[in-house]
Symmetry: C2
Subunit: 237 residues, 2 copies
DNA sequence: CGACCCTGTCAATGCCATTGACAGCGACTC
DNA sequence: GAGTCGCTGTCAATGGCATTGACAGGGTCG
């Protein structure tokens, strides 16, 4: 390694590492990076032949898996910064922050969210966070098993809805507008006498159409209300 | 149209209709039909040239949109059969049945669920069902707007989680097992002293791993508990 | 110094959606 | 009833994609 500088960059052979590839891939997944992850783009981004990546990841699936790991991990990290060190008693804040952090990490890379699809990351990224989360729920009064179930339910729901949002955000403007227009028309034309309630709530529904974050917030708080009910029930028993 | 019979089937020109295409496409989306929707497969299924479909749908997106419409519609239809005619007072049953029906319709065609991704079907399929659903919630004590929000939240959550499940079910066995194995190992090796609660709930968590329906049921009932709390709150005010 | 492996390169394969030119055929016009 | 037009199926071609196998340079280890 004699520091032969990169002036010959034209034909210089680049050296890839697992890390450099992951980094570049994450960049590509973000909207600023183009929002599409393909081998050819990845090759260009790295200044190497697209197929060189295969030396480090068996196939695209493995690459995506590693990326989701990083992303969930980042989300958990993010939530840790926003939360007090030790397990506090404010379970609601814990769950909210965790869910929103994971969601935010994913939404920063919509392309990844779409590819990740069903892959519930196998590595309980940041196991400590998970343990703490369950602890918080348990201290609030939930039996351990039930607390674990809540954690799992919350995470899956969050991932699913986030991926859903991401998929939509990736569509080109035209498709999005097409959807929105159709939606607005349908709700605007509802005969008031046949669908009184729907007609009455139409404005709110159209408003919610493009507001995925709003819908997510809705689902989340309702879910948390459910958890609260569960906790209360457990305490009485 | 002189009933020249199909003995000349080799070079006979098939006539496509929007309906016949949709039908064939739905067939392809089901696991029995191969579980993959592509133009070439669709062409073969119809006995026509793949590109003939373009005469009836501008592109794949339009086709998929029409298919999701049909599917949600079928789900709503299904739920109507399982429910009493007029709006009853058992809002919980209503929401449960609706969610599970829509989910079932989608899961019968995992390939579609994956393609549909973010496309919240623009046509409020079976507007009557929606109106009824909101009515039920409103009669239970929820303000109209809030009832509409609940409907939207429930539907989106259901669609998102279902698509999530579908995506996983489409992976080949090997990938699924890879995930599962990694998962089990991770949870099995957790040091008990560092992660006491996680260690304790590991069996339940691994059990939930492949049980997407179980997780969905969990999310759903928790969500409904939340709705119940909301209703109670609204009644008091 | 030689064998070997790690890793980047290159050319090729096969699937996919999509397009444009063409062709049969029915309907409609004069 | 002949000509014209438009609807719709066919065919060949394009460009993007993941993936594979043969090759090659260069570093390492014996």
């Amino acid at each position: 390694m004699e520091a032969r500088v990169a002036e010959q960059s034209s034909k210089r052979r680049v050296t890839l590492t697992r890390e450099s590839i992951l980094e570049a891939a994450l960049r590509l997944c973000s909207p600023e990076g183009g929002g599409q992850l393909t081998f050819s783009r990845l090759g260009k981004e790295l200044g190497a032949d697209p197929t060189a990546v295969y030396r480090h990841f068996r196939d695209k699936d493995e690459l995506v898996l590693a990326l989701t790991d990083l992303t969930v991990q980042e989300g958990m990290e993010l939530s840790r910064q926003a939360l007090p060190d030790g397990p506090s008693d404010d379970w609601r804040a814990w769950l909210t922050v965790t869910a929103q952090s994971v969601r935010a990490s994913y939404l920063a890379r919509p392309a990844l969210a779409v590819l990740a699809a069903a892959r519930t990351t196998a590595s309980p990224a940041e196991t400590h966070s998970v343990e703490q989360l369950i602890t918080v729920l348990h201290r609030a009064g939930l039996p351990v098993i039930e607390a674990a179930e809540c954690y799992r339910a919350l995470l899956d729901m969050t991932l699913a809805m986030t991926q859903y949002t991401a998929a939509f955000s990736i569509l080109d403007r035209s498709a999005q507008e097409k959807d929105e227009a159709a939606w607005a028309v349908k709700y605007g034309m509802l005969p008031e006498d046949e669908f009184p309630l729907l007609h009455q709530s139409a404005p709110r529904l159209t408003e919610l159409f493009r507001d995925d974050d709003g819908v997510f917030a809705l689902v989340l708080t309702t879910f948390l209300d459910g958890v609260a009910a569960r906790i209360e029930r457990a305490r009485k028993a």
